[in-house]
Amino acid sequence: VKRRILLVVAALIGRAAPPANREWISGDTIETFDRIDQSSGRFAAGRWLLGELMRVLLTAPRDRLAARAMRACPTRPKRAGLVPAILQDFRHGWRWLKRSPGFASVAIATLALGIGANTAMFAVLNAVLLKPLPFGETDRLMLVHLRAPSRDNPHVFNDAQWSYLKAQVFLTNQHVFDAAALFAGRDMTLSGSGEAERVSGEVITEHYPGLLGIQPMLGRAISGNEAHTLGSAPVALISHALWTRRFGADPAVLGRAIEINATPTVIIGVLPPGFTGLSGNADVWVPIATSSPHSLRPTNGFFHEYRLIARRGREIPPSTTAAAVLAAGARVDAAYPDAGRHLSWSARAVSLEASRVDVDVRRGSIMLLAAVGCVLLIAGVNLANVAGARAIARRREIAVRVAMGASRGRIVRQCFAEGLLLAVAGATAGIVVALAILKAAALLLPRPDVFFQSSVAPGISRTVGAAGLTRIGASMIGLDAMTIWFTAGIGATTAVLVSLLPAWRVAAVQPVEVLKAATRSLTDRGLHAFGTRAVLVSAQIALALVLLTGAGLMIRSAARLSHTNIGVVAERVVTARVDVPRARYGGERGAEFFAQLLERTLSVPGVESAALGGCAPVSGRCSDTVLWLPPASLDTATAPSVGVLTITPDYIRTLGLRLVAGRTFTDRDRLGHPQVALVNETAARRFWPAGSPLGITIAVGMGTFETGAEIVGVVSDVRYLGIEAAPTPDVYVPFAQSVAFSPQLFVRTRQAPEVVMRAVGHEVRALDPNVPLSNLKSMDEWVNDAMWRTRMGAWLLSMFAGLALLLAAIGIFGVMAQTVVQRTTEIGIRIALGAQRRDVLVLVLRRAVWVTAVGIVIGTVVALGVTRLIGNLLYDVQPNDPVTFSAVAGLLGFIALLACYVPARRATKVDAAIAFREN
């Protein structure tokens, strides 16, 4: 009875107390009663219990009010502030990552590779496209182009170079530029102190360095007189690099005489380190008047050979420039009318920054950056998936923490802290990777110039001046602040990407559900959890497919290129450029010199045949001119244009051209004999579709051949413009009847080309020590250079696509493996109920097939849109090439299913008994 009363009173006391404390208060009451009962007897205990009841009842309202007030307006523990809390998040994240070193190191390595590749790619793009050019007040600098009406369509204008005379008219008739200079890149022969060498240089007027913000570091600049007055003493500025390399950085070089193109020239100044002119590779600068006096001759108004750089006046708004340039251009046209064709010329100005890169370089580099971006995205999705899976594994821990009162915001923040830790580590390692990539690229690509020398894909016109500016940009490649910001940016993006899924998972955790379900089977996770990951994997497959398609198209282009017949037998042919000074080798002397040169070359052991020609096949640097067909008059407007090549008789044999009809040139076809010409098959087909061109007299817009030449033969086509460009109609004329000063020497060798060419160089020096043999290159190298862009693109894209494929495969594998593990019980039940191995296999693979199929379909649709953008980089392959598309889809499908195979096999091996026991 006593006990019952006690329990009732204790319960009563509990009811009176605030609800949260009911249990312990009742417990305490019972305990205390018992203690007093034992020590002082039941009456004392009863008295105490009664008093206790009264006290509690009396104070109950007050205590309840206090408890309610506390709940309504909690006096929270004073927060130590957000920053320490976040630091604590990071510490927690760090400890947690340390606990799973496998995941952490794989994640960091993946991110380092992805972020590193992106950083390196961006460093290139930044230097070439974004970083300000290293000149003073670049935003005021403009390239002014003469606008030449196109031969085919008088309403289409092409950017052209200036003649000296036209530029003078232009500059005196404009008021928007406060400084301007003409310049032109020229290769020059340097001799007179040490061995003769070919260097790149520029022919300029006096303001050139100054308006680019460059002052000589030694000596003085070129004066106006030297630039514009005939008969001035020849002078030159040299680059810091040349000064160091050739003159041992000797300050006494000022005033020293050297020979430039066999002209004695005094060095008057050294330009500061790093300055290489607007050509990006110049080592020597000479004024126009002394180096190119022909430009100043009043009859040479149509010698278009210079580019014009000008600085807009500080107070001139950019918007008014165009009109002023147009007006001045009209004055130029009035002063030098195009009498023959009755077409008007014009002018336009383009900012230097806008002239930086060709469309294809811009497009190519953006495409590659997008490709590496895709790779990083796929890698990020993989990590997100793994992190998401780990979040599921941690659901219990998180449920407990939430149940214990941790706020969800805090837990989500912790997820992001972990992601950020991974990203920071990945980005830091990525910077190291980027440095390594850039270093490796610099070693593997010793001659990036090839890119700018090779011809542009058909249908794209080169941006005037872009090659030099791109070269300048390429020299600035490095990890600058902008690049580091970029790295930080993609690092942060990756952190968010990697944390988003786990954070979302964690935020959705319902502690009660999780804790209740903890002992139950895992099948109930089911489709919902799989859904998000399936979407991510599909996205990965789609991205990988886009990359693979791009790579596939580029590979097919490269394959088509290497199977294209360029019209010459390239094996064992070596080429070199020979430059003779015009001053000493005019007329007969030149012909004589080159005849001797060929004779001596042939005498070298190992030389099978040797010839001279105007330019190398697939080099894209051959001249063209107009062709007049009889009986038409010399009307330039309607005449078709043809390539024109001066060759010696053995050219056909040395390069392996076929003679289709008639005869080739002989030694008798020289000055004083009737002028003759050969045409190629394309020309024969186009101009004389009905009959044979043999014996017909044509006129070619080149020197004495304007008076006519008889066609004596037809030869096979050669691709001179590049491998991609179809052969143009070409006309060959005998070298002996039209001597060039800078021909290419072609040598077919029997032995190792290096040895033979060394001996040839010897012979040439013996003939004239001031004539250098430069640009030694085998014909195969010319071909490789012409394919460089496509091959490089194919190689890089394939690498990225391969990486994407691997990452996507890992992604599929991971998700499928996890699904199988999670459904082990379900599969066990199915097997226990009599499902066959095959049924289980189908069950697992069905999902994989779905995910893969969705990815492939979406990827194909996206790829169809994207590949059109790279159409210009392709050769002989349509951007929607069905073969590539189906091959890529097949490959991707195969790899995806292969990646599922192992998990699917594991599913079939599930032992029902073990599955049940484990759960």
Binding site: A17, W24, R55, T75
Partner: protein
């Protein structure tokens, strides 16, 4: 700035300090009643302990149910670092105010 401790709060914190691991509602109340001679309501003890816990000066955990308590669980209390510091601060302030007044206080 830590909020000043109320007198009853100080008594409870001192009890926790003395009781150490044995501190729960009943013992705390007994401790206070025995030493200060004041009658204290058990629910007031818990209400105050709840408030101290919200201030971060005290932490509590729930023990297992025991038969001698009629199957009810016990809620144990302990000082946190902040609680110990608050107690020390209060004591120092009190001791500083008292310094030199001992004789006069006795004489009152």
């Amino acid at each position: 700035v830590p909020s000043a401790l109320g007198e009853f709060e100080q008594l409870i914190l001192l009890a926790l300090l003395r009781l150490g691991p044995d501190a729960y509602g009943a013992t705390v109340r007994d401790e206070i009643e025995e030493r200060s001679g004041r009658r204290v309501s058990i629910s007031a003890v818990y209400t105050t302990l709840d408030r101290l816990e919200q201030k971060g000066l005290v932490r509590s955990w729930v023990g297992g149910p025991t038969p001698e308590r009629g199957g009810r669980r016990r809620r144990h209390f302990d000082l946190t670092a902040n609680g110990a510091r608050a107690l020390k601060d209060a004591h120092q302030a009190y001791a500083a105010m008292i310094a030199g007044l001992e004789r006069r206080l006795k004489a009152l």
